[in-house]
């Protein structure tokens, strides 16, 4: 498996939702993917992530992912990311 396989997956039984728990670098990698930026993270980007990060696929059909970090959340829409995540669980 690729990058996402190194993360822990917590699959819920409802509505096809999948929650992903990631450590700092994994979470940041996901955000980079969501943002559509290419390439590996720079050391400075990795260092900038001090706290854990979690991703929650809120709506697989719509490609909605909620990113939980620090005491905030951010909802992004990325059907490619959601497809990659869901297929990784199979």
């Amino acid at each position: 498996m690729g990058e996402v396989s190194r993360r822990a997956f917590l699959a819920s039984g409802s509505a096809g939702a999948v929650a992903i728990a990631g450590v700092a670098s994994g979470g940041l990698g996901a955000i980079g993917l969501v943002a559509g930026e290419e390439g590996e993270l720079t050391p400075a980007e990795i260092d900038a992530v001090a706290a854990p990060m979690m991703l929650h696929v809120r709506d697989a059909a719509a490609g909605e992912v909620e990113i939980l970090f620090e005491d905030q959340s951010l909802v992004v829409t990325d059907k490619t990311l959601v497809a990659k995540v869901l297929r990784a669980t199979r």
Binding site: L10, A21, M54, H56, F69, Q72
Partner: protein, 459 residues
């Protein structure tokens, strides 16, 4: 119970479970308001070796609405940090704890207080590193508990006092009887389901008599809570009424790491709240209780149906046949309860008194700070002619179970519908429990009494 384990989800999360909220003009400092937020229901005092503590992953809040919208304008936030002094022992303490910096005390908590002004968005650190007292382990471990608790009362800038730690639960109720098909022991001979009476006492059994809780208490100058910064003296002024409720929140995401640790991330999500006692407990239907805990009071119109046609008012005539004929025949919406619990009592109902917060339906304690404390309180509060008591805020000695039972039984309907005559039983109904004085200290903040000792209870 008032709100002990009152909803399915929060019953599984005791450290975040709001059990009671109290708010009153401070008896020995009438220029201030004291607000008490209790959590951790039904603590067994002998709870060692892991004695009770606040959650270090929970955000505790005391909210004040001063502009009648059911939303907080001011919030005091409390977060806790654990520290272990000796990592080589399983013990809570390795000798007598004689002071809050005792090396014998192995697991301790400190906390941070933050004040949020929602009008400006400003979040101000009030204080950090504040010490909690230990739990009352017993006379060997905590030989002078009152001194430890007194040392944990912190005076902060701006005339604020705070305390956070274990106390005796001041709430009293015959839980075992009430939730056994609504039986009230003093009147059980009239119950629809008779049980053999010989040997069965008609006295109420106070379920919480030996239980502790964890208390957050704060005493704040009135002028720092009102919308215009004044200390109102006119009870009929809208400025004089504060809406008050407590809450607890957890972060949206939590992951167990499989090594005994856990990680949280994301915004805080409310998992518990408390305004009027017993609101979620005996009014909101089971299927909506968890949702009620998750929303803010400004959204409470969705629960108004349960207040307008309370299930308990329908059950009383069934459980006590022929005792409540007038209540049974009353089919109108309960405008009295809608006012008492959701909007406050408007002017013109009780002479010289009001605690209205306008038309927004919101479950909050409503405290008219222009009503001075009384030296001769009546446990029935406003129903007993004492405007300084519930439902004008809530004092520790207020018998809210009796007050609300009588209100639901119809005693307060004539306030809004003079054509109704309450059943005789409405003014007599009670569960037979009485507030024991040892669970309240009348002369000093935090006013709620010292916890029961693990060594002595149950005694």
């Amino acid at each position: 119970m008032s709100s002990h384990r009152e909803a399915p989800s929060i019953a599984k999360d005791p450290v975040a479970d709001s059990t009671d909220a109290y708010a009153f003009v401070t008896p020995n400092s009438p220029g201030t308001v004291t607000i008490i937020a209790n959590y951790l229901p039904a603590e067994l005092p002998a709870g060692g070796p892991n004695f009770y503590e606040f959650g270090d992953d929970v955000l505790y809040e005391i909210n004040i609405d001063n502009d009648r919208d059911g939303l907080a304008e001011i919030t005091y936030q409390f977060t806790f940090t654990n520290a272990i002094t000796n990592t080589t022992t399983f013990l809570y303490n390795t000798g007598p704890i004689l002071s809050l910096d005792s090396p014998n005390w192995n697991r301790r908590q400190t906390y941070t207080v933050t004040r949020v002004d929602h009008r400006t968005g400003a979040s101000s650190l009030v204080a950090s590193g504040l010490t909690c007292p230990p739990c009352f382990v017993g006379r060997r471990s905590t030989p002078d508990y009152d001194s430890l608790a007194a040392a944990a009362v912190h005076s902060l800038p701006g005339g604020v006092q705070v305390f956070a730690g274990q106390r005796a639960d001041a709430f009293f109720v015959d839980l075992g009887s009430i939730f056994d098909l609504g039986a009230l022991r003093p009147f059980q001979s009239a119950h629809a389901v008779p049980i053999p009476l010989p040997g069965i006492s008609n006295e109420g059994v106070d379920t919480l008599r030996h239980s502790n809780v964890h208390t957050i208490a704060i005493q704040v100058p009135i002028g720092s809570l009102t919308s215009d910064g004044t200390v109102p003296s006119d009870p009929m002024s809208a400025v004089s009424v504060l809406g008050i409720w407590t809450a607890a929140s957890r972060q949206k995401g939590s992951v167990l790491d499989g090594q005994g640790g856990h990680t949280e991330a994301g915004p805080w999500v409310q998992v518990s709240r408390l305004g009027n006692p017993l609101f979620n407990e005996v009014i909101v239907a089971m299927d909506h209780k968890d949702h009620w805990n998750a929303v803010t009071p400004d959204q409470d119109s969705q629960f108004a149906q349960y207040v307008a046609q309370p299930e308990l008012a329908k059950l009383l005539p069934v459980l006590y046949p022929n005792v409540f004929p007038n209540l049974k025949a009353y089919t109108k919406d309960r405008a009295d309860l809608l006012a008492i619990l959701l909007t406050g009592i408007p002017a013109g109902i009780v002479p010289g008194f009001q605690n209205s917060t306008g038309s927004v339906q919101a479950d909050m304690l409503r405290l008219n700070v222009a009503i001075p404390p009384t030296s001769n309180p009546n446990r029935l509060g406003l129903v007993g002619g004492d405007a300084a008591g519930f439902p004008n805020g809530r004092r520790l000695m207020d018998d809210v179970v009796t007050i609300e039972l009588r209100a639901i039984a119809g005693l307060t309907i004539p306030l809004v519908d003079p054509s109704f005559t309450p059943d005789a039983a409405a003014s007599a109904i009670e569960d037979g429990t009485f507030n024991p004085t040892e669970r309240i200290q009348l002369d000093a903040f935090p006013f709620i009494g010292p916890p029961h000792s693990g060594y002595r209870v149950p005694a």
